[in-house]
Symmetry: C2
Subunit: 230 residues, 2 copies
C-alpha cells in the first residue's frame, strides 16, 4: 500500500509535533511526505503535477495544525485547484474513487474544550464535516481521524505511543481485526535493525515474534475446529 | 449600523449571482464591499490594515461561493493572518467582541442534496460549524445565514425576493419583530427616488407608506389600551 502524506504547515521547522512525527517516518516504506508550503511558497500550485501524484497512491492523508477549525489556507488552495471537476468529481472525475482518506490534525487546545459548554463549543467530528463531505464527493473512504491534542504536554511514554499510532495510521491496512494488528506488529518487529540491539534485547525481540505467531496459529486452529463443529 | 461585506470569489466578474447582489447595494448606506481577490491577488494580506478596517464596523459579513464545503482559499488566508491571537482572541484579543457576524453563501447544488441520503450528505448548518466556532471564539454574534441555492435557476420574482432579503441582511437591525421589519420597509420606501416613477406609482408608493404608518399607530394605541387594562 502506498501512502501520500500532504502536510500544510506555514512554520513546520518550528513545530515540535511535526518534527517529531516526521522523524519517525521510515525511509524504506511506501510513504511520501509532501509539504505544500515548501513546494508552493507563492500559492501557485502545479495542478497537473499534483493530480498525477495523487493517482499513484492508495491512501491520501492530510496532516496539518488546526487553524480556525480547519486546515491552513494553502491546503484549501490545493483543494480548490487540484480537486477539479472532471478529475475529483463530476461525470468524468473518478481519479480518487476507492482510495482511502485520512486526517492527522495537531490541536493546541485540550480535547475537553471541544464539546458543547467547552471553550471551543464544537467537537472535532463536527468541525471536520467539510472534509468528510469532500471524501464522500470524491468517492474516497474516510478513515477514523488521528487528532493530536496538546503535543507539548505529552509525557515521553505518550509520545512513543503516538508515534506507533501515527506509523500505523500511515502504513497499516484499514481492517481493525486482531489478525491485521498482529501482522503489522510482526512486520515492524522483523524489520527492526537487530544489529543495533544488545544480545538480551535481540532475544526478547525474537521471543516476542515467536509468541505472537504461535498464538495466531493456535487461534487459527481453534477457528477451524469451531467451523467444523457448525 | 455599519456593515462590512468581505467577499472572496476568484472569478467575481463571471459570477451572475455576485454581480446581481453587488448591483443592488445602495451607495448612500453604511455598507462597504471588500473583495479580497481584487485587493490581494498575490495572497499577501496587509494584516494591520485589515484589522483597522474591521474595528470600524458593527456587522461583518463573509460572502463567497461554496468551494469544497467552505470559503475559497484567500478568505481562509485572511482568517489565518488577520484574526490573530491578541487581536481576535486570547487574553488581549477583544477587537471583535459584540460585533455581528453573517454569512452569504452561493451554492451550485440544490438544497435537497444537503442532507443525509442526498448527494452532498451533510446540511449547510453542519458544514458551517467552523465559522460558527470562529464567531464563538472571537465573541461575535452569529446571525442566521443567507444561503443562496442555484441562483441561475431562480425566476425573476425569486431573484427580486432574494435582493430584498440580501439588502435586509446587510442593513436591518437584528431584531425580527414586526415593528423592526415595518420600520425597515418604510425607510426603504421613503428613500426610493420617486422622480423616476410615473404619477400612478408615486401615488401607490405614498399610499403604501401611509397605510403602514397608520397601521402601526393603531397597533401602538391598542397596546396602550391593553397595558392600561392590566
Amino acid at each position: 500500500m502506498k501512502t501520500l502524506v500532504i502536510i500544510s504547515h506555514p512554520e513546520i521547522m518550528e513545530s515540535g509535533s511535526q518534527q517529531y512525527l516526521l522523524s519517525s517516518i521510515p525511509e524504506n516504506k511506501d510513504i511520501t511526505v509532501h509539504h505544500l508550503e515548501s513546494i508552493y511558497p507563492d500559492f501557485n500550485i502545479d495542478v497537473k503535477k499534483e493530480q498525477n501524484l495523487l493517482k499513484e497512491y492508495d491512501r491520501i492523508v492530510f496532516q496539518f495544525p488546526f487553524y480556525w477549525y480547519s486546515a491552513p489556507a494553502l491546503l484549501k488552495k490545493w483543494q480548490d485547484d487540484v480537486l477539479a471537476d472532471g478529475f475529483a468529481y463530476g461525470k468524468k472525475g473518478k481519479a480518487l474513487v476507492g482510495k482511502e482518506f485520512g486526517l492527522v490534525i495537531s490541536i493546541g487546545v485540550r480535547k475537553e474544550e471541544y464539546q458543547p459548554g467547552g471553550r471551543e463549543g464544537f467537537s472535532i467530528d463536527e468541525l471536520m464535516k467539510p472534509f468528510q463531505a469532500m471524501a464522500l464527493k470524491t468517492g474516497m473512504e474516510f478513515l477514523k481521524m488521528l487528532p493530536i491534542f496538546q503535543f507539548s504536554y505529552l509525557t515521553e511514554n505518550q509520545k512513543m505511543n503516538l508515534l506507533i499510532r501515527y506509523q500505523q495510521y500511515l502504513t497499516r491496512e484499514k481492517e481493525d481485526s486482531l489478525a491485521v494488528r498482529e501482522k503489522w506488529f510482526i512486520e515492524e518487529l522483523k524489520s527492526t535493525d537487530s544489529s543495533k540491539l544488545n544480545d538480551g534485547n535481540q532475544f526478547v525481540l525474537n521471543q516476542a515474534i515467536e509468541f505472537i505467531e504461535e498464538n495466531r496459529d493456535t487461534i487459527d486452529e481453534l477457528k477451524i475446529v469451531l467451523d467444523q463443529m457448525n
